[in-house]
């Protein structure tokens, strides 16, 4: 590999600085002794301690976590089913439209998604609250889940499923015993991705929510309007940690799955020689 020239090193440093200095500042200030957010008063973890006393924030965090778990589970199930239909069902009338409809929310402005969800809930006369947030989150993260699972299904040898059926497994048995275990890594990444998306969503949640179902991003946003407290920095740091872990695990499991697949392919190739 070529060595970094000073120019390359500088541009990388600038790029990373641009991306991460704000976040780094937030993390550092979460350990600030001073009550004033912008004045450094020495190291302390007291805001993490006082965070544990702040019921409003903790409640919001708990709501967020439950919403994320439920909505990502729902999104993963729906997304996986959609991916299977798109990859396996071959050509059926309206297939292009169907796949377009599944992937459109990927590029849809969140405000529009949120507003349309709100209109739907109002039209259906649904009480807005915890469950409407779950549904709204599942709706927009489902398309991400579908993309992830679909990618794996495309390079999946269909004859493996045929072999299972040939040996006496019905379609459902084939799915549970053969297809699902093989695509499991991508299903897990899909879940983690949906989980992360739900965790940090503010816009759609604000539209879909109702009394008693304030998520953490919403709580933070509303508090910041009154002034940033170091507690917010602390909980934000925790969230950054969670999201980072989620993304790392997701990308690691995807990478491992593709490496495993490569090994299998190599083994087949080597055997053929």
């Amino acid at each position: 590999m070529r060595r970094f020239s000073w120019f390359n090193a500088t541009s990388i440093a600038l790029g990373f600085a641009f991306l991460y200095i704000p976040i780094l500042l937030l993390v550092i200030y979460s350990f600030n002794e001073s009550k004033l957010v912008t004045v450094w008063g020495g190291w302390s973890t007291k805001w993490y301690a006082s965070l544990l006393q702040n019921e409003g924030l903790l409640n919001a965090a708990w709501v967020t976590l439950r919403v994320a778990i439920l909505s990502s589970t729902l999104a993963t199930i729906l997304g996986t089913l959609a991916a299977i239909v798109l990859v396996r069902a071959g050509r059926f009338p309206g297939r292009t439209l169907f796949s377009g409809l599944i992937f459109a929310p990927l590029v849809m402005p969140e405000v529009i998604t949120g507003l349309s969800m709100l209109l739907l809930f109002v039209a259906l006369n649904m009480d807005r609250g915890f469950w409407t947030v779950v549904i709204a989150h599942a709706t927009f993260s489902m398309c991400f889940a579908a993309v992830v699972v679909q990618a794996r299904l495309y390079d999946f040898d269909k004859s493996v499923e045929e072999a299972a059926m040939d040996l006496g497994a019905t379609q459902i048995q084939t799915f549970l015993q053969v297809t699902l275990p093989i695509i499991a890594p991508s299903v897990i990444s899909a879940w983690l991705l949906s989980f992360t998306l739900s965790l940090d969503d503010l816009v759609i949640a604000s539209f879909a929510t109702g009394p008693g179902a304030t998520t953490l991003p919403m709580k933070i946003y509303s508090q910041v309007r009154l002034g940033v407290t170091p507690e917010i920095n602390a909980i934000s740091t925790i969230m950054i940690g969670l999201v980072t872990i989620g993304v790392l695990v997701a990308s690691y499991s995807t990478k491992r799955a593709s490496q495993q697949q490569e090994r299998e392919l190599k083994a087949v190739d080597a055997g053929a020689k």
Partner: protein
């Protein structure tokens, strides 16, 4: 079916006087009209949109046969196999197994198991689990599954690899696992879709004999799809040569080689020299063929229904042509020519001989004496000769 009807069908090899015994001589259930075929394709047609993959195929395959479907890619052989496995549904026609109509049955309800071209092993299961998968689906008790898996692994020399995953095996071992999985349920019919296509040549030859051994030991009906004519010749009791969704000829390997019914079969199986000509005279069972002005007429055994002025092709296998420097005195057919190419392969030599009219003829000669100097070389004037019984007169 009458003899006349037979000779117009793809199975009409019986017209030839050069019948050869099948390798398993005595085993010929297709000649016994009282036998119920193990598999029967009845006027099966398969269309994919406008494309006709299989055109009105009727075929009987008998118990214990090792039957080969042979043809170039896209000839419909795999489609035929997949219809038998249940992955494709015939557009029209019926498929029967042991007299029972299975056309509407799902793949998991059919008494057939398939070995896939890609092996299609379950990557997340060990070799043992792969082989036992089908037995587990049938609800066989665990101890019996273990026993059957062990037996099957022993038969295919896989016992050492039971705990391994497919990606930890070599190609040859994966191929054996795929076969083991297909025979573990002791199905009535085993389907093999290009089973040895991924192996190198030497391994493939070993595997072919292994396949034959397994087939004989289990007494199962094997149906193999292949585009490799040597493979089909080696393993099978009968071969169906296919082209464009139709059977061109269905016969034993010996008949296919020695008595092809068309130029297509003659060309597809082995090497052949073809001469186009016209029948000018039929007498005493022999036909005289005029194949160009000023050229000595060929003499060959006349096929049934051969009449004067009919356009025919004389097919001649290279190894049946005798090549010599001197003019033969008492040959039925003799042609002068000039050697333009010699290919020395050790055991045999190929000669390409150019005739007076520019046509090139391939001839083989066994190098039976141990000399480096071969008597016939480039630019030599030679004579080709063969008896009248050797040439095959083809009408199509």
């Amino acid at each position: 079916m009458s003899e006349a009807a037979l000779s117009s069908s793809p199975t009409g090899a019986s017209r030839s006087p050069l019948r050869t015994a099948a390798p398993q001589s005595g085993f010929a259930p297709w000649k016994d009209p009282s036998k119920t075929p193990m598999v029967r394709f009845e006027n099966v047609v398969k269309r994919f949109g406008d494309f006709v993959a299989v055109k009105d195929c009727t075929l009987d395959i008998y118990e214990r046969e090792f039957f080969a479907l042979l043809g170039p890619s896209g000839c419909g052989k795999t489609t035929l196999l997949r219809m038998l496995a249940g992955f494709e549904k015939p557009t029209s026609g019926r498929i029967l197994v042991a007299g029972q109509d299975i056309t509407e049955l799902a793949p998991y309800d059919r008494p057939v198991n398939m070995m896939f071209q890609s092996y299609a092993l379950f990557p997340h299961m060990t070799v043992e689990q792969n082989i036992g998968f089908g037995l587990k689906q049938d609800g066989m008790p665990k101890d019996q599954i273990a026993q059957r898996v062990e037996e099957t692994m022993a038969m295919l020399e896989l016992s050492k690899f039971g705990k391994r995953k497919p990606h930890q095996l070599s190609g040859g071992q994966q191929q054996r696992v795929a076969l083991a999985r297909a025979i573990a349920k002791k199905p009535r019919i085993v389907l093999l879709d290009e089973p040895l296509g991924a192996l190198d040549k030497r391994l493939r030859q070993t595997a072919q004999f292994e396949l034959m051994g397994i087939q004989e030991r289990t007494g199962t009906t094997f149906i193999i799809v292949t585009h490799d004519q040597e493979e089909a010749m080696t393993v099978s009791s009968r071969i169906a040569v296919m082209d464009h969704g139709e059977f061109v000829q269905i016969a034993t390997p010996g008949d296919i080689y020695e008595a092809p019914n068309s130029r297509y079969t003659a060309n597809f199986i082995g090497d052949v020299n073809l001469f186009e000509g016209k029948v000018v005279n039929v007498a005493g069972g022999f036909a005289e063929i005029d194949w160009g002005p000023g050229l000595a007429r060929f003499k060959a055994v006349a096929p049934e229904g051969c009449a004067g002025q009919q356009q025919v092709w004389l097919a001649l296998r290279p190894e049946k042509i005798h090549i010599d420097l001197d003019k033969p005195t008492d040959a039925s057919n003799a042609l002068p020519g000039k050697v333009v190419d010699v290919g020395y392969l050790g055991s045999i030599s190929h000669y390409h001989v150019e005739l007076a009219n520019g046509q090139r003829v391939k001839a083989l000669r066994t190098n039976s004496s141990r000399t480096v100097d071969r008597p016939i070389s480039w630019e030599d004037k030679v004579w080709l000769q063969w008896p009248a019984e050797t040439g095959i007169v083809l009408a199509k």
